[in-house]
Amino acid sequence: MTIQQDEIEKIAELARIRIAPEEAAELTSRIANILTLVDQLQAIDTAGVEPMANPLDAVQRLRADTVTEANQRDVFQAIAPAVENGLYLVPKVIE
């Protein structure tokens, strides 16, 4: 599977990473190389093999429904780039 530059641009948009126009060609070729490497898997017969999401065959533990976390807003917001009146600020979101 080869990947085209416009696909890389689409993926970069999904991942919200800006790609400078001058980087795009080289990035595309590097990613194409990686995809060539991983494409080896296409040749493997995996019919009937259950996908393995986690190395241990364990199941989810359930937590009791109790409130354990106190308000630490000041501590968390001391390391935030932009806050006002307890809110995190971002450029205007248009819906």
Partner: protein
């Protein structure tokens, strides 16, 4: 051109857990911004989710409530997209293997008819935070208190055909989840939010038309209005020979219109994959059964019981059973007064009437079930008439005390003393000779009407306190006597 409307609803229900679905932060509504957002909710580096047992239990309760298949193994997935109210850049949800599979329930329409509506699935996920667009000099403020609140997303089949059915569906759902106690169902606080999928097709067609999704409609009334509006919009497009665009629209309650949400349209590719920070949720049948054993009697069963045990009409039973608190109140009144039908009448007409007028919730009613039962007992034992009882009820509502206190204080005790009543009857019969003569001359059919005149006069004299049954008996006796006097 006649169009058939096809509607499916996706309801996001906030579950009434104390803490969040994946963290130990509180879920209480209305806290100061970001004071209930802990390190997990803020997606601080290295933070991990741990699943809240109560959220799982509530989901199972819902599944049992609609007779659905319970997923004994369910899997959480990541749904990836960037939005400032979604701190991790993904929402933990269930995609391929939800906890609740197919089920259905019956909705009751205004005309008393019922329809069965399919539930495709229900799955657990986390709520997002809130974006506040006002007052930040062109910036948006993000409050993540809501982030991580457990949601049950309930997806219906496209079985609904009009706004009335959609609203009935939501009301039935609301009734079910509040019965189960898995959600407070407070729509004004966003505990139950609805997305509407709506399309039109030519009557008789079996293929679905292109649908639009209307997001976040948060009251029964808005659902109704949004559907009416959207039907009109799509019909106009189709009748002009156009095509409906598949898109997400937002209902604007202020302007009563839906409009396109273009921002959400940009190449959505959610890249779902199993959440590696959580393991498959495996529950056993024994646990499911133990939950089933704790389920309360649900509205359909209760409605049926009200019909069979109390002899109520299906409609009355439906109204009383729809709300758990109301049904409990009603049953308490029945227990206190022993007459289920009169109790039903009083609860539906007088109690609900007062609540509606005062825009009160049942819990705020100044008249409790025991007090209302006490009042009804005084009707049943003949102490007061039904008409007087309404006065007493109003006084009870105004906080003047219980029925007996008010009856005594206002001297409303029904006059059942035969001597006193006889004097009244004599006075009226003696004072209206012309009417008596008319009565005596009339045939059986007309006599009944004329009796009403005398009763009315007597009740007026007694200020409504005369025992109507005794008045009738005495009157009949007196009039009969007057007749035989005349003949003799």
């Amino acid at each position: 051109m006649s169009w058939e409307v096809v509607i499916g609803l996706e309801v996001h229900l906030q579950l009434a857990t104390r803490s969040k679905i994946f963290s130990g932060a509180a879920t209480a509504f209305g806290a100061e911004p970001n004071t209930q957002a802990c390190a997990v909710d803020l997606a601080m580096p290295g933070m991990l989710p741990v699943l809240n047992e109560q959220a799982v239990r509530y989901a199972v309760m819902f599944g049992l409530g609609i007779g659905a298949e319970i997923g004994l193994r369910s899997v959480f997935d990541r749904k990836n997209y960037f939005y400032p109210d979604l701190p991790k850049g993904y929402q933990i949800s269930q995609f391929q293997e939800p906890i609740v599979g197919r089920g259905e329930f019956e909705i009751q329409l205004e005309d008393g008819s019922t329809r069965s509506i399919g539930i495709t699935r229900a799955h657990l996920e986390e709520d997002a935070g809130k974006s506040l667009h006002e007052d930040f000099h062109g910036m948006t403020g993000i409050d993540l208190n809501r982030a991580g609140t457990p949601l049950l997303e309930i997806v219906s089949e496209p079985d609904l055909r009009n706004a009335e059915e959609a609203v009935a569906y939501l009301k039935t759902l609301h009734s079910l989840v509040t019965y189960l106690g898995i959600s407070d169902g407070n729509m004004a606080e966003g505990s139950m939010r609805c997305d509407i999928n709506l399309s039109l097709r030519r009557a008789g067609s079996t293929t679905l038309g292109t649908r639009a999704e209307i997001k976040n409609v948060n009251s029964f009334r808005f659902v109704e209005k949004a559907i009416h509006h959207e039907i009109e919009r799509q019909a106009e497009i189709l009748e002009a020979g156009g095509q409906v665009v598949q898109e997400t629209r937002l209902y604007d309650a202020d302007r009563d219109e839906t409009r396109s949400m273009r921002s959400k349209e940009v190449a959505n590719d959610y890249r779902y994959f199993p959440e590696p920070d959580l393991l498959p949720v495996v529950i056993d049948q024994a646990w499911v059964e133990s939950i089933r054993a704790t389920l309360p009697e649900l509205p359909p069963a209760k409605r049926q019981r009200f019909v069979s045990d109390y002899g109520l009409s299906s409609y009355d039973a439906g109204v009383l059973a729809a709300n758990r608190a109301l049904a409990d109140y009603y049953e308490a009144v029945v227990e206190g007064c022993t007459d289920a039908k009169i109790a039903a009448n009083w609860v539906q007409v007088e109690l609900l009437g007062q609540l509606n007028r005062g825009e009160l919730e049942l819990g705020q009613s100044p008249v409790g079930a025991a007090a209302l039962a006490g009042l009804i007992q005084r009707i049943l034992d003949g102490s007061i008439s039904g008409k007087i009882a309404k006065q007493v009820f109003e006084a009870m509502w105004a906080g003047e005390g219980d029925a007996d206190t008010i009856i005594a204080a206002r001297g409303l005790q029904q006059v059942s003393d035969s001597g006193a009543l006889e004097a009244l009857v004599d006075e009226v019969v003696g004072g209206n000779p012309a009417q008596v003569a008319q009565y005596l001359a009339a045939d059986e059919g007309k006599r009944k009407k004329l009796v009403g005149f005398f009763v009315g006069q007597i009740m007026k004299l007694s200020k409504g306190q005369a025992n109507p049954q005794m008045v009738n008996e005495l009157l009949n006796k007196k009039l009969a006597a007057a007749g035989s006097d005349g003949e003799s």
